[in-house]
Symmetry: C2
Subunit: 207 residues, 2 copies
């Protein structure tokens, strides 16, 4: 797998969106298209995807996507009150995390992978503001497969940014983004193809 | 009429949105609310509003808003193939143009005023890219009345920014915004109250 350099493709130049209390960067073609497709196929087939369940109004429902939590052994992940230990690194992901970390010049040691089988799968408004991520976490999200819309909304001002996340693109959310903005991946019923995304994070090891 | 200073209201601090090929600034409470309301009432009553007509597919239809074009005598305005001479300055607008010009540190000498009677009135995707405005025009838009959503969309990348334009807010579009982005004021059928906006521009005088 080779990451595109600027000389490979002019689209690999980052686009920056400096918003009130958030810094967003997007590399539209961070991975070359064939590499992104191969990676999607590999990860979709080789990981142990789980469709978590949550309780809403006393009913147990499946969340509208499949997930895998992966990373260093100390990186546990809490979801709907349940704590999950991380899966060990898949070799392709372990290779990726180092390259992403190098691109954004920050340490990364865990990743939440989301598999959206079609445009029906989605994720509602939320922020990646778990305490273990620290006060102003940098989240790097690599998209593989179908282009999906990604929305960011300021919590109090109501302003919204809608980005198109294409196959192979790398999105970075930094600054106070997780504190003052929420984000979501809305339903897009016309999208038939799957999208897989890897959201890389850093959790400080225990002292 | 008094423009709010930072000491009057902390919301008068500008919010900046630096986007690929566009620089957007928003002063949410540039005019104090009562001043904005008085100005709306005055201008709605005292200007000669026109509902222009355009031809679409051979039919003549009213555009979904009312307009006034105002400014220095040399600032003529072309719309749907017809050239309009500017109205002379209304005293309240003439006073405003100097203050807006001072805020954005740019000359301004003409203004398109739009009156949206309700959320049914709107303006479709377009850019303020008339040749007489120059290559990278700075457009300053003062909003009075009902809060309306304002959308900006990149012409090729598809990214969108949606802002909430409140009573008394001043929006400035600069950089290559008019070249690479389009903007619109979408229909919002739940909005019953009117909105009036003044979009200040600069047209260089003939040599």
């Amino acid at each position: 797998m080779t990451r595109q350099t600027q000389s490979d493709n002019c689209k690999a130049v980052a686009q920056h969106f400096l918003l009130p209390e958030a810094e967003i960067s997007l590399w539209p073609a961070w991975l070359a298209e064939p590499d992104a497709e191969t990676l999607l196929t590999t990860l979709a087939a080789e990981l142990s995807w789980r469709q978590e369940q949550i309780r809403i109004y006393g009913k147990t429902v499946n969340i509208p996507r499949q997930q895998v939590w992966m990373g260093e052994p100390h990186c546990s992940y809490q979801y709907s009150g349940v704590r999950f230990a991380p899966s060990s690194w898949h070799p392709a992901v372990q290779q990726l995390v180092a390259v992403v970390s190098n691109t954004i010049n920050r340490p990364l040691n865990c990743v939440l992978l989301n598999l959206y089988a079609s445009g029906q799968d989605h994720m509602g408004w939320h922020a990646d503001n778990e305490p273990e991520l620290g006060v102003a976490p940098v989240i790097a999200s690599l998209s593989l497969g179908a282009t999906r819309r990604f929305d960011l909304q300021h919590r109090t001002q109501g302003h919204q940014l809608q980005l198109q996340l294409e196959n192979g693109s790398l999105l970075v959310m930094a600054g106070k983004c997780q504190q003052h903005w929420q984000h979501r991946l809305p339903k897009q019923s016309r999208v038939a193809a799957p999208r897989l995304n890897l959201t890389f994070r850093y959790i400080a090891p225990p002292i």
